[in-house]
Amino acid sequence: MTRSRSMYLFALPALLVIGGFFVYPIVLSVKMSFTDFTGVGTAEWVGWKNYDRFISRSRYLDSVWITLKFTFLVVTIQTLVGLVFAVFLHRLPAIRNFCRAVLFTPAMMSFVIVGYVWQFIYAPYSGGLNAVLTAVGLEGLTRGWLGDPATALYAIAITHVWMFVGYTTAIFLVGFANIPSEIEEAGRLDGASSWQRFRHLELPLLAPSFTVNIILSTVGTLKTFELPFIMTRGGPDRATNTLSLEIVNNLFGSYKFGFASALSIVMLLIVVIVAVLQNTYLRRREEM
């Protein structure tokens, strides 16, 4: 009994911090999502009106769809490209540290700088990408990459991948380092080719790295707003208007703190559901 009481006492500071800094803000957001709060003054209770508006207006459901699509693109491309880089660097120890540092550099840059630089690369009239395409005789492919709803989301996704692929690579390299060298040696002795060793030995043993990479990048990307905000401000015609951007616009563009809180709660639910489903599936896969 005494032991149990002292356990609770020791846990109390941590529980207070979690309650004060994590649980309370969420409870406050839920409460605010039922009001018409404008950021200052008093808030009036409006019941389910904010949630009703979220469901009844297609623009908000579109934002959810864009967020999910963007996340799927980024997580898939980033994981695959990161894996490819890690496989090569694992086999090329002489340049591994240098390349890892180079790949990691974009992640250390500010979103604002990255956004503006890529905005000029994608610019329709004097942009770098169009200039390269023209130089190699592919003028027919030139376009306003960020100005075309068909390409804008992909263009931002590529920028996002460029920025964070170093993280993914680093996590996979740690995964490679954790594979016992005896297993690789056994594979070699059995005459397995490099591809066979990767496919049947390394890939299954990298399962924990996949779990960490996919969950971290999914949660991070679901909440992303910086690059769409800087590069397109959600345009053209909302083609890149993620849910986070919608929240920011409602907060600071329209002073609808109550409605923005409702959107935040919806986003929180989406993040939790996606993360739980992913985690369950990936953990099960690790045990196979």
């Binding site: 003054g41 905005q119 376009r143 100005g147 397109t232 907060l251």
Partner: protein
């Protein structure tokens, strides 16, 4: 000992006087989204002059960007820690004054009596006013006269017919006629021409009574945009999603386009470009004068919680003095919000000035709260969509505007 006493005594008296003077000095906390290095707006100079003229008031100035103002000031206002004087605009004034956080500056002051009649209703709420306007900035059409002359056009177009004619000549000369981004540039053209064609005040469309979808004026403007596309003024698909704040400005400065609807705040930047021969003209419209679309942007507001209301009032009134305000107007290439027509616009804005004189002034409806703020983004988005697919019906575009108005209630 005597020498020591005789030197200490006056020093002590001086220290006491200085101490008393220091105690009487009021420190005013002032915030603004202008006054930094990139957009000084004459503020550093004016604050220095104010302090010299009012030695008992010390101004502690903080630059807070407009975007950050939304984030930084509400908690301070809520937490009884607001600055004494804050730079505001009407959307902020609406939210903060409704919450009782801004002091009433009164309608009996000298400066209030001098405000332009067109502005007074917007800044007055019953018998109260919570903002002293500082400037009105023009939004019109930047015209590269060097390129126009190459195409054989020697006057900036002010009518739709002149615009189409100029576009035809420019296109024939291999010059791209106009930047018409779905965000900002196209909306300026559509809003200016739509309001000009309306029979009723702009505010009738921002409320619950009437809708944009049924407005003959706005339906007509969208048809005019299609005509501009046919007249080769605009390459809609390439320009619809162009960033109006970076790429579009760079393209105009580089001389890649002949015209661009934008705000006069770019004049200072454009004038620093060597060889850019341009004028600032009104938005071409059905009227001969074109439309001068004026933006009432900024003003000073006083916090209701300020402990130094008298000093804050003195500070605000200092800017109402025409001589002092002129410093800001010159730096901003702006117009005075007071009667008398003072302006800080350079000669190259003469076509826009002329349009204002000829009666073509329309106030930007979001800045005077005629239309709700969320509609602004919806107009940008929907016009971008419209430029990407001009086969869309006018109703498809304008119904989105009505939905945004409805959502704002």
């Amino acid at each position: 000992m005597t020498i020591l006493r005789s030197s200490v005594a006056p020093a002590a008296v001086a220290a006491m006087i200085a101490g008393t003077a220091l105690a009487d000095t009021v420190t005013l906390d002032v915030t603004a989204w202008k006054g930094n290095e990139s957009e000084p707006a004459g503020l550093p100079q004016l604050i220095e002059a104010f302090e010299a003229a009012n030695p008992d008031i010390d101004v502690e100035f903080s630059y807070i960007s407009r975007l950050d103002t939304n984030v930084v000031l509400p908690p301070r206002l809520q937490g009884n820690n607001a600055p004494d004087v804050m730079m505001t605009d009407m959307p902020l004034v609406k939210v903060w004054s409704d919450a009782g956080l801004l002091a009433d500056l009164g309608t009996d002051s000298d400066w209030y009596g001098r405000i332009e009649d067109s502005l007074k209703p917007s800044i007055t709420s019953g018998d109260a006013t919570h903002i002293m306007p500082l400037e009105v900035i023009g939004m019109g059409n930047f015209v590269n006269m060097g390129l126009l002359k190459q195409a054989g056009v020697d006057k900036a177009p002010t009518t739709i017919a002149e615009l189409k004619d100029a576009c035809g000549k420019l296109d024939a000369a291999g010059i791209k006629p106009m930047i018409f981004t779905g965000g900002f540039s196209a909306p300026l053209f559509v809003i200016a021409n739509g309001i000009e064609a309306m029979d009723a005040p702009a505010s009738t469309l921002g409320g619950e009574e009437a809708g944009f979808a049924d407005s003959a004026a706005f339906n007509g403007v969208l048809d005019t945009v299609r005509e501009l596309i046919d007249a080769k003024c605009v390459d809609p698909k390439a320009q619809a999603g162009l960033d109006p704040w970076s790429t579009a400005l760079t393209e105009f400065k580089a001389g890649n386009f002949a015209m661009m609807p934008q705000g006069a705040w770019n004049i200072v930047d454009f004038s620093s470009v060597d060889g850019l021969d341009y004028v600032f003209a009104p938005v071409p419209s059905a009227k001969n004068s074109g439309v001068a679309l004026d933006l009432f942007g900024i003003g000073w507001s006083m916090s209701e919680q300020s402990q130094h209301k008298e000093a804050a009032k003195t500070f605000i009134e200092y800017f109402a003095d025409p001589e002092n305000l002129q410093v800001m107007l010159d730096a901003e290439a702006a117009y005075s919000p007071f009667k008398g027509g003072a302006s800080g616009t350079p000669d190259l804005a003469a076509p826009y000035d002329q349009s204002r004189i000829d009666g073509g002034v329309i106030m930007y409806p979001f800045a005077v709260l005629d239309w709700p703020k969320p509609l602004e983004n919806e107009i940008w988005d929907s016009l971008t969509g419209f430029l990407l697919d001009t086969e869309k019906s006018n109703e498809d575009v304008l119904e989105r505007w009505d939905e945004a108005v409805e959502d704002s209630f």
